[in-house]
Symmetry: C2
Subunit: 406 residues, 2 copies
């Protein structure tokens, strides 16, 4: 018997069943990897920096040769030569010797510190005077100081951004292994639905959900297969579901509001696979279905575009992220902010409430946008949503809430 | 005479000179608009909903006919018929009449309220008994309740996300006018640089900056023209700059660390156009150049990849966003969090400090990642950065800081 699940139970079923599935991998060029999910641990294949590098213009020395020197008692060192930028020195430094090295240049073997140019003097006789002592390691970045060969720099499962690409470039990765894009099919079903390219006649309603859901999937880096509208007759829907599953890793059917739709999706899923739950105790979004067809997750989402959006964000999105290989270690998409107005809630089931950012008394806060004010108004105004627990009477003005950003 | 500018002065020069430029527009299909910047105000071209819609299954009535009714004294109304989902009623409701309307269905003319099915009884003689009174407007969403025709729903300059696409679909927009992608050319210059596909010999250094900057520009929705490495000889750099500017709206040259580079970029910019500043009092990133060549912004960024990244985020990114038409009304990319460790700073110039998120005592905080720990370590670990003012001695443990996310 399929009973309505709490959101926690639903999350557990989703992840227990499908959380272990990850899309295959492919190799892409460095710049194509921006926004993709890394599918290998990145190890430093060399020390960084690869040589002992000076951080100043000046003289490479053995620090011990400069101990105790000063303006009045300089350390007189033999000048062995100049190291050019981008070139490795062809000589080494011995006791009482020095060499000129520019910022970023390589220290000759034997040197362990730099004396800045301004604390030296050229005696014109092949020697240089050091007027200030230098400690071992001073003004030097030693080979491997940043990263040592073999060290893990980036972990598999990271979503790659510009700074990761920079780290990869610095380690010499011109290609990287990433997860393929998760392919998701999206079907809208309902007799009263028409495509956005058509004009509604009578009480026909435009298919909003397939655009909304495909938009959200694109934002998550998925490849989409927008099937569009399917009339809610069982054979048609069954064929559409079967065809879509052949091409994709996940399926989302969202119902129109006409009477037969909820049943149609359920019946098709039940016939083709195994329905795992039918109903989540959450407002909005109760009539949510999850089925397992040939090992692929198939969701049935509410017909109402706002309800579908919340259910997508709460239950589908985390699975999309997980199946895409993304371990979620990247940028946090939650903000903790006080509420500008009290929000009552006594529905006995968990509730999602759309909110928008406002500045009040010079402080960033959120205020509720009630679904009553309508669909379009909501969609165009909300910045994110908060969750109010089923046992919670609401939120009082000034309370801090965790906002999940859209 | 070009003097070093404070960050505020630099921002003012950047926006005063180029803030008024916006890329041209183009029309794209609805799903292609995800992530693009809207280039027109979106007005509701119809009322939403387009008809008086029932929010329950039940009977459309004149509310006044039900006033005072109850289980014991029901209101007996003539049944005029049933409205089908997706169809407009062909009849109206008069005094003492009712009609069945499903959830989402259209109320017949004359009706101003709904009575839920469970509070009615079928007397089997062509009448229905209403057992509960309904107030005018009860269980009804009136035409235009959500949005009225002519109302502005989305403003030009909004970065379109899934929820905006949903709002556009609900209003029947199958195409929208968006700003074209800003085209940015990126050049790395320096004799010691090699591409990431090559292996460094001696003290050669890989070109990190062009990948890092192109990655960041891709994240901002730009089209990139990665010129790659140009040797820092004036005629070569001049030709590369001229060619790049022909193909793009903005140019970024970042220098290697070799001696002649800073001068080369400056000299080429100075020859081809008008250098607006040369140096910003900020750490890291002092050697930053801005020039105006044929009305196009040309930046010269530091050669060090971390310094280039900060300068890009602080000074280039805001202009990229503005020139892309994005008015920045979308998702906030800043978070206010306490610091887990004190951060000293007494440099007399503004400082940027990389930070990463940590959980301490169960609370989200940020801790500094010192540049000293190296380039790759920094790039792979930082989640964002904070700015420490030039007159500020540092930040104490527990102080709240504003974190700009990467």
């Amino acid at each position: 018997m399929l009973t309505v699940k709490t959101s926690t139970e639903a999350e557990k079923i989703i992840f227990d069943t499908f959380g272990g599935i990850t899309v295959p991998t492919e190799e892409v060029s460095l710049l194509s990897s921006v926004g993709r999910v890394l599918a290998e641990d990145i190890l430093a294949n060399e020390d960084v920096p690869g040589f002992n590098r000076s951080t100043v213009d000046g003289f490479a020395v053995k620090a011990s040769d400069t101990f105790g020197c000063s303006d009045s008692i300089p350390a007189i060192l033999d000048f062995k030569g100049e190291v050019l930028m981008g070139e490795s020195p062809t000589f080494a430094i011995d006791k009482d010797e020095c060499a000129y090295v520019p910022t970023g240049g390589e220290l000759p073997a034997g040197a362990d510190a730099m004396v800045m140019l301004e604390f030296s003097e050229d005696y014109g006789d092949g020697t240089r005077a050091m007027l200030k002592p230098s400690a071992p390691g001073q003004h030097v970045t030693f080979r491997g100081d940043d990263v040592k060969v073999g060290q893990t720099v980036l972990k598999s499962g990271s979503r790659l951004s510009a700074r990761h690409v920079a780290a990869l470039a610095s380690l010499g990765y011109s290609k990287v292994k990433v997860y393929k894009k998760l392919v998701v099919s999206v079907i809208s079903t309902g007799d009263e639905l028409i495509d956005v390219t058509e004009n509604p006649v009578g009480a026909q309603i435009r298919d909003i959900n397939s655009y909304e859901l495909c938009g959200a999937l694109l934002e998550l880096g998925c490849e989409i297969n927008r099937v569009g509208i399917v009339i809610d007759e069982l054979p048609l829907l069954e064929k559409a579901v079967t065809d879509a599953l052949e091409k994709s890793d996940m399926l989302i059917v969202s119902g129109g509001s006409s009477v037969g739709v909820k049943d149609a999706t359920f019946k098709v899923y039940d016939k083709l696979g195994n329905v795992l739950f039918h109903g989540i105790a959450i407002k909005p979004g109760k009539p949510t279905i999850l089925a397992n067809i040939d090992g692929k997750p198939c969701f049935g989402l509410p017909g109402h575009p706002l309800a579908a959006f919340y259910v997508f964000n709460l239950f589908v999105k985390p699975l999309v992220i997980k199946m895409s290989g993304d371990l979620g270690t990247s940028k946090s998409l939650k903000k903790t902010l006080p509420v500008a107005l009290s929000i009552p809630s006594n529905h006995g089931r968990e509730e999602c409430m759309g909110v928008r950012f406002v500045i009040k008394d010079g402080k960033e806060m959120v205020e509720p946008v009630y679904a009553k004010s309508g669909l379009v108004s909501n969609l165009s105004m909300i910045d994110g949503f908060i969750r109010i627990g089923r046992d919670c009477e609401g939120v009082s003005q000034g309370d801090e809430v965790e906002v999940e950003l859209f």
